[in-house]
Amino acid sequence: MKIKSLEDLEKIKEEGLKNLSGRQGKKRGRITVAMGTCGISAGAKDTLMTIIDELDKNGIDDIAVVQSGCMGLCEVEPTVEVQIGDQEPVIYGNVGIEEAKRIVKEHVIGGRILGDLLVKKSAQ
C-alpha cells in the first residue's frame, strides 16, 4: 500500500499505537528487549531467547516480544521493558538468563513486580 494522504497516515498511526501499547490483535501485553549493539554485547540475545522460550514453555501466546534500540541505560544493560494490560510499563535492568526466567515467572505469570531488577517505571 502507498501512503498518499494524511488520512492514510492517520490510519497507520492508529494501528501502530495499538502495537505500542502491546494490545494489537488478541495480545494483552508486550515485552521489549533493548537490542542495540550495547545491549547485545551485554548479552541481550540470550535474554530475548530466554523470554521467548519461557513464554513458549508456559503456553503463553498473548504477550508480544519485540526488540527496540538502546534506551541509553547502558550501565544496566541488558534492559527489558514489561507492559501488561493497563499497568504502567516497568523497566528492568541487568536482565540475564536467570533474571529473564524470573520476569516471566513472577511478573508475567505471577503479576508481581521484581523490585530488585527495577530500573524505572515508565519509558516516557
Binding site: 549493539t37 550495547c38 547485545i40 554485547s41 551485554a42 547502558c74 550501565e75 544493560e77
Partner: protein
C-alpha cells in the same frame, strides 16, 4: 586463469553481485566489501578480476584496497577477533584485553593462529563504548565489560564449537 574464474563458484557469486548492480558508478568500495565477504580477503587475483569486471585500472583497485584498513590482502582466521582500543576501551584497560587474547592464542600481531581458526585485530571503537572494554568475535558476537581473566573461557567456547563439527 580466465577459465578458473569462470568455474570457481566464489568468482561466480561475485560476478552475479556485480552484474546485478543497478549502476556501477562509484561502486568499487561496495564490490570490495562483497568480495572480502566471499573470499575472506582480497588477494591480487581477486583485485585483478574486479578491475576487469568494472573496467577500471588495477592500480586504482590496489590504491583503494590499501587505503582502507578494513580491507586486507592477507588471509585472516576463521574467527576474527577485534579488540577495541578506542578511547573509552583504552581508558578502561583495552590494551590488557588485547595482550591477553594474543597471549592465549600465541600470536604477536594480526597473523592467524597455526590452525587458522583465529586472528586478532586491534580496532578503533566498535560503538559499544558504554560496555568498555569490548571485543567482537566474527561479525556479531560482542563481548562487553571484559576483564583479562574472561578471555580464555571465551576463546575456549569457539574451540569447542569447532571440535563438535
Amino acid at each position: 586463469m580466465e577459465n578458473q574464474t569462470l568455474t570457481d563458484p566464489k568468482f561466480a557469486e561475485l560476478d552475479e553481485f556485480i552484474d546485478n548492480l543497478p549502476d556501477k558508478k562509484g561502486m568499487l568500495i561496495g564490490v570490495l566489501h562483497k568480495a572480502q565477504e566471499i573470499f575472506g580477503y582480497l588477494p591480487a587475483e581477486v583485485q585483478h578480476h574486479i578491475a576487469q569486471k568494472l573496467d577500471i585500472p588495477e592500480s586504482t583497485v590496489f590504491g583503494v584496497v590499501t587505503f582502507y584498513s578494513f580491507f586486507t590482502m592477507k588471509p585472516r582466521g576463521k574467527y576474527q577477533i577485534k579488540v577495541c582500543l578506542g578511547t573509552a576501551c583504552y581508558v578502561k584497560g583495552g590494551q590488557k584485553i588485547s595482550d591477553r587474547v594474543k597471549e592465549e592464542l600465541g600470536v604477536t600481531g594480526d597473523e592467524p593462529t597455526s590452525d587458522g581458526l583465529f586472528s586478532v585485530q586491534e580496532v578503533r571503537c566498535l560503538g559499544a563504548c558504554s560496555m568498555a572494554p569490548v571485543m567482537l568475535v566474527g561479525e556479531r558476537d560482542f563481548y562487553g565489560r571484559l576483564t583479562p581473566d574472561k578471555i580464555p573461557q571465551i576463546i575456549e567456547s569457539y574451540r569447542r564449537k569447532e571440535n563438535k563439527k
